[in-house]
Amino acid sequence: MLEIKNLHVKLEEEEKEILKGVDLTVEPGKVHAIMGPNGSGKSTLSYVLSGRDGYEVTAGSAALEGEDLLDLEPEERAAAGLFLAFQYPVEIPGVGNMTFLRTAVNAQRKARGEDELSAADFLKVIRAKAKSLKIDADMLKRPVNVGFSGGEKKRNEILQMAMLEPKMCILDETDSGLDVDAMKLVSEGVNALRDEGRSFLVITHYQRLLDHIKPDVVHIMADGRIVKTGGPDLALEVEHNGYADILAEVN
């Protein structure tokens, strides 16, 4: 599904290298988790994959189902099936949540040469999906993320994911700012989307999210590289012992 090889990335404005050779392969239907201390490059990896400005890839490659991602515009990556659930979902005053979602869904369908969804069909689908995420009609009408609580914003990200039905979902610290109940709700939303044709890359600081979204593979990232890969137990090890032991062992 996703294949990242020897990815080196630096900030466009500075010489500072942030990713120093990331290798990562995510198979279809699998959930991979990336854990790591602050500043290890986790969020940068998610931004670079989704095509945000400000980063320069100096070496390596990233492909989604064999297609070179790094050559595509952000909207083309989305249409190709990539989705990033933002750590800090953006507020967009003046754009209704529903209008935004319908525009996005239809833009992707159009880019893939599929028919656009009619207003009625779209409404039917979104109502059902919103309900399972406890998103009420009011939240759908309001401007995108404006005045949403932290939990509402993250639920809205998952709703977008559910509507866009991507193949490769990257969740960037989706657990940050969530209380226990909200984390459960968001996790259920994610788990409902688990499918043998859909893969997940879950970026998190903490093991607790992984209690709800059970990963197949856990990676530890430090200083711009994946330094250790293991099964779900690796997350527990981090939770108990912190990163220091693992990093000492690697170094």
Binding site: E73, P93, G94, A104, L164
Partner: protein
């Protein structure tokens, strides 16, 4: 004090090109306006109030020519059931207009009231314009009162079932139109006034609006079409107790537009909202100059102006809230914002508050900026192509001003016109 020589010469040159209509009951008002104008002189480049907008082409003896915008598109508001009053190059066209009778309102052509010695409009014609000359001079409005060649007097006594639609067609490339309308809204009456069209190569329009206690006037205006047209407009509104005035202007195209709004809240608990959205491309200069005076207790005023500018377009906002002594519990709000779609465009803003009462809530803000890159990336990351995403954010930026329109159907028409403008971009 004598006028500077250059100013006096420019003023006299302009006046020499004009003829005062034979004016019946407005004669005195016109002569008084001419005297005012001679004292002030027409605006010059060095006048503080014209610091950001060059008045030269608005005061020249001859109007610069303006090519007609070739299009088959129907004019704005065509889908609405309304009473149409049509002016072609500033001349009333009975043929193109509807029958001017409607329940709850009486409409007279200015020319007809000019022949009468007694008419209600006599008490209004030039009166609010004259009041609006202090503390800031508005010479083009005085010129209008003195020389207006046409216009209508609208007396609203009830709640007419349809909006009154003033349509300004442009047919001659060198037309120079001066129109003056007076509107009186009686106590408890309510009306919607629509205005649209380029009017002329150069258009000087003045509207005096007197809203009695409990009266309501909605005003929606669309200025657009002809790229080379020029306009200087004034709206003088005096408001009684618990009266409501809501005005929205959309400006698309036009090489030069100066819209002045002078609102005076003279009765308690009155509400005045003036808003505008303009989108300008290239050789486009748009100036909103607003002066709201609070002279009563517990009144609310809002000024919401949004401008989208690209390819070297210029936007100007001069807005003032004056709260007079004793105008306690005033709630005054003013926001002017521009979205600059490139580095060549500019926005010049002069927001002002002047407050002489101690128990008021007044706020103002003015910003200028580019498209929010973070929001743009967010939309693109969801699959929305860059141009569509930019358009969405542009419309969202304008939404706060468009939201000032209460009638949803009218607001939709404005939004669709904005979408067309965005779509025209290659």
């Amino acid at each position: 004090m004598a006028l500077p020589q250059a100013k006096q010469t420019a003023t006299e040159e302009r006046l020499a090109a004009l003829t005062m209509p034979d004016a019946g009951c407005t004669r005195k008002a016109r002569e008084a306006a001419l005297a005012r104008l001679r004292e002030m002189g027409l605006p010059g480049r060095r006048d503080e109030y014209w610091k950001y907008t060059r008045p030269d082409t608005l005061i020249s003896a001859e109007a610069p020519s303006a090519a007609l915008f070739e299009t088959d598109e129907p004019m704005m508001f065509h889908e609405f059931d309304r009473l149409k009053i049509v002016f072609i190059d500033g001349v009333f066209s009975a043929e193109a207009s509807d029958d001017l009778t409607m329940e709850g309102v009486s409409i007279d052509r200015l020319e007809d009231i000019c022949c009468k010695d007694i008419h209600w409009a006599k008490e209004l014609y030039g009166v609010l314009e004259a009041r609006g000359q202090t503390p800031v001079q508005r010479p083009l409005a005085a010129l209008n009162t003195a020389y207006a060649s046409d216009g209508v007097a609208i007396h609203v006594t009830g709640k007419p079932s349809r909006p009154i639609s003033l349509i300004y067609r442009h047919a001659s490339e060198t037309s120079d139109a001066i129109l003056h309308h007076v509107i009186r809204v009686e106590s408890g009456a309510e009306v919607t006034i629509l205005e649209n069209g380029p009017a002329a190569s150069r258009f000087n329009k003045c509207m005096e609006i007197d809203i009695a206690d409990g009266g309501t006037l909605h005003h929606i205006r669309a200025q657009g079409r002809d790229h080379q047209r020029r306009a200087a407009t004034h709206m003088f509104t005096r408001m009684g107790t618990e009266s409501v005035y809501k005005s929205f202007t959309l400006t698309v195209n036009g090489v030069l537009t100066r819209n002045e709004q002078v609102v005076e809240l003279t009765g308690d608990d009155a509400v005045a909202h003036v808003a505008g959205a303009c989108v300008g491309d290239g050789e486009f200069h748009h100036d909103d100059t607003v002066f709201v005076t609070h002279d009563a207790v517990n009144c609310e005023s809002r000024q919401v102006f949004k401008k989208v500018l690209r390819n070297g377009a210029t936007g100007v906002f001069q807005g003032k809230i004056l709260v007079k002594e004793g105008a306690q519990k005033t709630d005054g709000y003013q926001i002017s914002q521009s979205l600059l779609l490139d580095d060549d465009s500019q926005f010049l803003a002069k927001p002002e508050l002047e407050i002489y009462a101690d128990d008021v809530a007044c706020s103002h803000g003015s910003t200028s900026g580019a498209i929010d890159e973070t929001a743009l990336f967010y939309l693109r990351s969801r699959g929305v192509p860059t141009k569509d995403a930019t358009d969405m954010l542009t419309l969202a930026f304008l939404a706060e001003a468009v939201d000032e329109i209460e009638d949803e159907a009218l607001a939709e028409v404005i939004v669709s016109r904005l979408q067309e403008w965005l779509a025209r971009r290659s």
